[in-house]
Amino acid sequence: MAIVVKRPKLKWWEHLYLPAIVGGMRVTLGHLIKTLSGKKKVTMQYPEEKWDENLPEHYRGAPALVTDEQDRERCVACQLCEFICPPRAITIKPEEIPSDDKWAKVEKRPKAFDIDMIRCIYCGLCEEVCPEQAIFLRKDYAITGTSREEMVHDKERLYEIGGKRVGLVNKWNGLK
């Protein structure tokens, strides 16, 4: 069904358009003056200059893995992110944690964890679905590389980006 949009009825002075033109010119002039007087800078000199500090908390940059306060990998390779990832950018190969490992009781960890950053659409579903709070979208947005291989973040790179994240739910404490 088509939606009929009513045309607004303009008053006579609005038909002249002059007040609107004058209003617009005032804004333009204002900017011109600020620029000429050096009060405002218009162009940021990227990449020498970045506005990283101004990124909001909820910014969705590159997804990355984190470790907890005891340096344990939080990821238990449940593969839910691999499942949920819309562009199928994530590939995980799980493995059993060897019995002599400090965290053997956790039983499972990723052997390989790859995120293809060419595919990644920064949707954040991986972060949302993660039951262990192991994957987060960080503020890194400038992901570059000179080959397809380089654009695949492996486990090591993911932990490098992710770093340590303390607090939050920690099921695997000393009492377990």
Partner: protein, 570 residues
Amino acid sequence: MSEEKSDLIDVQIDGEWHKFPKGTRMIEACKEAGVEVPHYCYHPKLTSPGNCRMCLVEMGMPPRPRPGDDPAEPDEDGHLPIGWMPRPVIACANTIAPNMGIRTTGPLTEECRRGVMEFLLANHPLDCPICDQAGECSLQEFSVEHGKGESRFREQKVKKPKNVDIGPRIRLDDERCIMCSRCIRFTDEIADDPVLGFTDRGSHTTLAVHPGHELANNYSLNTVDICPVGALTSNDFRFQMRVWFMKEVNTIDPNCGTGCNIVVHSRQDEIYRITPRENNDVNSAWIPDSHRLNYHWINSELRLTDPLIKDGKSHRQTSWEDAIELSASKLSGLKGSEIAIVASARMTNEELFMVRRLATHLDAGYVDIVPRMEKSDGYLISADRNPNTTGAKLILGLEDPGSKLGKIKDAIIKDEVKALLVLQENLIDDADFAAEDFSSLEFLLTSYPMANPTAEAADVVLPGACWAEKSGTMLNVTGRLQRLNQAIDGPGQTMQSWEIIRDLIQNTGGGNGIYSTQDLFNLLTSEIPDFVGVTWDQIGDLGMQLVDTGETIPLLEKERQRIAKGLIVG
């Protein structure tokens, strides 16, 4: 017919009246009526201890009139009113009675299910992200359907052993165990290897094997299948793949003449596990571990992926066209009596049908298969370790499979046979042949999935598809026709045997006209007497009895006895 009818009794399930045979368990009646009753401990192949209490339902009977009162009037359909009992009953162990009413919905049943779910989860570790059962876990499924979605349990959970090594193929997590006792009953009643038991009591009850003993029988992995939670997991499958990623294909097991019905679970052409599929005429609901785990070679490094031609002492890779052309040219110069064909009872009926055509076309002097007779294990493993000997006998007209192998060997040595085609077999390892026996041959062709000594001696080596990579039909020891379905694509340039044989026939001047296994099946069912008139759909997922060989499957016989005694539903 009239007798059968009188054995049917009226039962009302969720307001609808149905008829069931006497003696039907309430849970089975509900299932037939299309109503699922959630349960953990109940398994139709095992006795019913009624311990999980998940299948509690509301039950009612027509009330008995009080002395002096008139009996209740039946309604217009002739059904009596139902007096509902205040207490719930378990649906798994109770049988139906005439005019019984069952309510699987309603406040009482729902409250029971919510209550039991809460109890089951109270001490459960909730480690689904790590647990292999996630995705096919009854706890997960029923907690979504019947659970509360929140926990009121604020106490410390009971601690039990985790990651316990209870046998060579199985790992136990006691915290996940819900004490349904299915595994114990399986080992006691079916595997005849009672090594599992509960220790301690109450909430501390722990599933265990006796110290120094292990759950190692050849059917042990079935306990993993029937474990409704992640307490028992398979070492082989442990942490390999999440179940929701896998493609499931119904097919049959090729490791012996029983032809156990199985499901192949794969992802991206790699098999991750094999599980049994219920078929009460073949394997009940079980499969031996040795069969189940015999798949790792499929994706191993020993797989042949390209056609090879002998070039001096070693082989070189070539194209299918070259390999087939070379073979055809070698065969064309020979008389039929100088050609012998050794096919395989691991081939499908359709492939064997092509072997038959090839033999006729070449007028081959000898055709035989390699027999594999060992001992039956008294359960599911038949003495015949070939999956399709029955088919080979019918299609190739073999009376005594393997009886000609010796003659072929003699004929080769005497130079009477100059070309030998070994199709899907390895004569050096699996039959009584040695590499020297082939030295006088003018031409040796082998097709096989794996590199092997016979292939090493061959002039042409063709990479054949394995059982998981092809479709067709097979006849098991009892004479049951079953479908083998393709689960994965073969690696590299592998081809199915029927295609290889078709190309050989074509290149040696034979006819064409077969483009699919379906064509082949149609030809088979029009030409081979025993198969005439059989349709693909008729075989279905569970197969059909085509001929009667008189052979039986021991495990099924035992199961029938248990059903007759009323111990199990079956």
